[in-house]
């Protein structure tokens, strides 16, 4: 067996549900999320990067999930349409009766793809701004803007507060602020 195969096997066996859960933050359909994770696994292990640990490989896969998500929307020409669509829609109140996961996924679904991607990379994974920009093919400024807008919207929808770059984002009045893709 080749040296990459045991690492791949271990990532799938031990981390697949967690990776799908992460992908569901981007595309709330479980089927789409599974496709995204499998694409990311293929992309990661087909590349030139070498992994010696499962954790190292998982970090690559996590980032590949986000970049492939953005690539998918970009390829299908959907990104701009989605962003424009999202920009014109008022925020819809997220039901408080669902589980925490359902509420978060419902809130994220109201963000543009780039906002979702930036929030996941910057806020959840703590990926530096410049690295996020390189990964998504955006400028540093765009990453900051998408992240701030996304977090502001999530706070409005979920009644949370968030700290980004050492200052606290607290939303008083829910309002839509989406930049076109």
């Amino acid at each position: 067996m080749s040296r990459w195969e045991p690492v791949l096997e271990q990532v799938v066996q031990e981390r697949y549900p967690q990776l799908v859960a992460r992908a569901m933050l981007l595309c709330s359909s479980r089927t789409d999320a599974e496709d995204l994770v499998q694409d990311a696994l293929i992309s990661t292990f087909s590349g030139r990067a070498r992994f010696s640990t499962v954790a190292e490989a998982e970090q690559y896969v996590r980032r590949a999930i986000v970049s492939r998500f953005i690539d998918g929307t970009r390829r299908r020409g959907r990104e701009r349409a989605l962003a424009e669509q999202v920009a014109q829609m008022p925020l819809v109140t997220v039901s408080t009766s669902g589980t925490v996961a359902e509420r978060l996924e419902a809130a994220l679904a109201q963000l543009s793809p780039r906002q979702r991607a930036c929030v996941v990379l910057r806020y959840l994974d703590d990926v530096p701004v410049h690295e996020t920009a390189e990964l998504l093919g955006l400028s540093d400024g765009s990453v900051k803007r998408y992240t701030a807008d996304g977090i502001r919207a999530l706070n409005a929808l979920l009644g949370t507060q968030a700290t980004v770059n050492d200052y606290t984002v607290r939303v008083v009045t829910p309002q839509r602020s989406v930049h076109g893709a």
Partner: protein, 495 residues
């Protein structure tokens, strides 16, 4: 007020728990198959790494294409001799294995070589090859052994090897182009094993080892920019991804004054025609086969004047891909039954076609049908000889299929050129010589060797052998890393 980060982490944990019963075995099988296929494909398109059992010296005679075009030609392996293992850290002169009785040095991490005489670079001509050995022992404990050697080696058409210059151990250097007689080469370099920064163009002074950065000035998006080749008017062609995995890219011309201009877009793979005028590439999003993804049309990009024209493969109901250029305006293609489940293999009823493309239309002519248990041409692996002949790799069928060897389409039939074992791929065809890089396995990045097949004389010469084990290194993970044939217009373009 609840912190958003806490909520997100709780949500992730909750969702992960609800998915804990997801079956992983079929996912692992499917992903592993696709990764194996892609890795095999990638190795056909870029210079690979290295495992050595033997080193091959000298020349062997091959009575293939030129002997009798009317008769099937057997695949011929070069004569193999076993070198003397050397674990010595200091140069140890040994008798030459060549007929000229030149004393060869056996240095750690290099095949037998000799010091390069002053002025030799300036005297090189067609058929000389520049190589770089980036020699690294295999690791069996997950560690990362340091490089033993990182050295430019010049190889004559008859297989004589000369040490040119040592390179920094902390930089990966890939040869892009080198002209006979020149004391410089164009390379791309990056920090060793760090693909995230992308490669940068540099000019390597072969007399001093100094590398002078000559940035292309394009985005590193998607791991690029990547070198494509040289256009008919001498401009270098570079691509930079327009998607993070470079499934789609923009193509740019870089002229000698360093200016860069956009010439058009291309899909994931491309081949430059022998004249340097046309770049054939696949068109994303029209339904097809190459990676089991949506590709089933091709485009010709005029890399000199700009403008792109799309064509179909002219074989309705089949999944097709380009194998290589026969001549300007004519391509070798392979078509097979479309996949039923989205997987890219096993390509039943594979058939070789000549596809004539001109004036916006295409016409396919069937050349050869491959039996379903017979290795068939690997898409995008072809190197044009410039006289209508095309050398290409063949691959085994099935999910775990590896490369099978190299064939040459001689205008009438496909003639075996080299039995590659698990992996063999053509990287260049210059001046009637086909250069084949081969490795014993396609499942791992193992050592490769480089063989030159002279179709006119019928001789085969191992130019760059695998590294032999030594007393200190039982197995090498990497040896030959990259090479460039003098005057080669276009190395294969990979993803």
């Amino acid at each position: 007020m609840r912190d958003l980060a806490d909520l997100m982490n709780d949500a992730l944990a909750e969702r992960s728990g609800s998915l804990a019963d997801l079956p992983t075995a079929p996912v692992g099988d499917r992903v592993r198959r696709r990764v194996r296929f892609r890795r095999a494909r990638r190795h056909t398109l870029e210079a690979g790494g290295v495992t050595a059992a033997v080193a091959v010296l000298g020349s062997a005679t091959w009575f293939g294409l030129n002997a009798d075009r009317g008769q099937p030609a057997p695949a011929v392996s070069p004569t193999v001799s076993t070198p003397t293992p050397s674990g010595s850290p200091t140069p140890a002169p040994t008798p030459s294995a060549t007929a000229t009785s030149v004393v060869l040095d056996e240095l750690p991490g290099l095949p037998p070589t000799q010091a390069m005489p002053a002025g030799l670079l300036e005297q090189t001509g067609p058929g000389w090859v520049l190589t770089i050995y980036e020699s690294k022992p295999a690791s069996f404990d997950g560690g990362d052994p340091p490089l033993v050697a990182h050295t430019v080696v010049l190889v004559s058409p008859t297989g004589d090897r000369y040490r040119v210059v040592d390179l920094p151990l902390d930089q990966a250097v890939y040869l892009l182009r080198w002209d006979a007689g020149s004391t410089t080469a164009v390379v791309s370099r990056s920090r060793m094993y760090d693909d995230l920064d992308g490669d940068t163009r540099a000019v390597l002074d072969l007399t001093t080892g100094t590398m002078t950065a000559t940035e292309v000035g394009l985005s590193h998006y998607g791991g690029g920019p990547f070198y494509v080749g040289r256009a008919a008017d001498g401009a270098e062609l570079w691509t930079t991804g327009t998607s993070t995995d470079s499934v789609t890219s923009d193509v740019y011309r870089r002229t000698d004054d360093g200016s860069v201009t956009l010439v058009g877009g291309m899909g994931i793979t491309a081949l430059l025609d022998p004249t340097g005028r046309w770049l054939v590439n696949e068109v994303w999003g029209s339904g097809g086969t190459t990676f089991g993804e949506d590709v089933d049309r091709l485009a010709l990009l005029d890399v000199v004047h700009g403008g792109s024209t799309e064509f179909d493969y002219g074989v309705p109901g089949k999944s097709c891909a380009v194998v290589g250029w026969i001549e300007p305006g004519a391509l070798l293609t392979v078509c097979s039954d479309p996949e039923q489940d989205g997987d890219p293999v096993p390509q039943m009823n594979a058939t070789l076609f000549r596809l004539d493309v001109s004036d916006g239309s295409s016409h396919a002519t069937e050349l050869k049908r491959y039996a379903d248990d017979e290795p068939d041409p690997v898409p995008w692996s072809g190197a044009a000889l410039g006289d209508g002949r095309v050398a290409f790799s063949t691959g085994e069928r099935g999910y775990d299929g590896c490369m099978a060897g190299v064939e040459v389409w001689d205008g009438d039939r496909a003639v075996p050129l080299q039995d590659g074992g698990d992996m063999a791929f053509v990287k260049a065809a210059v001046g009637g010589v086909v250069y084949v890089e081969a490795a014993p396995s396609c499942q791992e990045a193992l050592q490769t060797d480089l063989t030159a097949h002279d179709l006119a004389s019928g001789s085969s010469t191992v130019l760059a052998p695998e590294l032999a084990p030594t007393a200190d290194v039982a197995e090498w993970a990497v040896g030959l890393r990259t090479w460039a044939v003098a005057g080669d217009r276009a190395p294969a373009v990979g993803w």
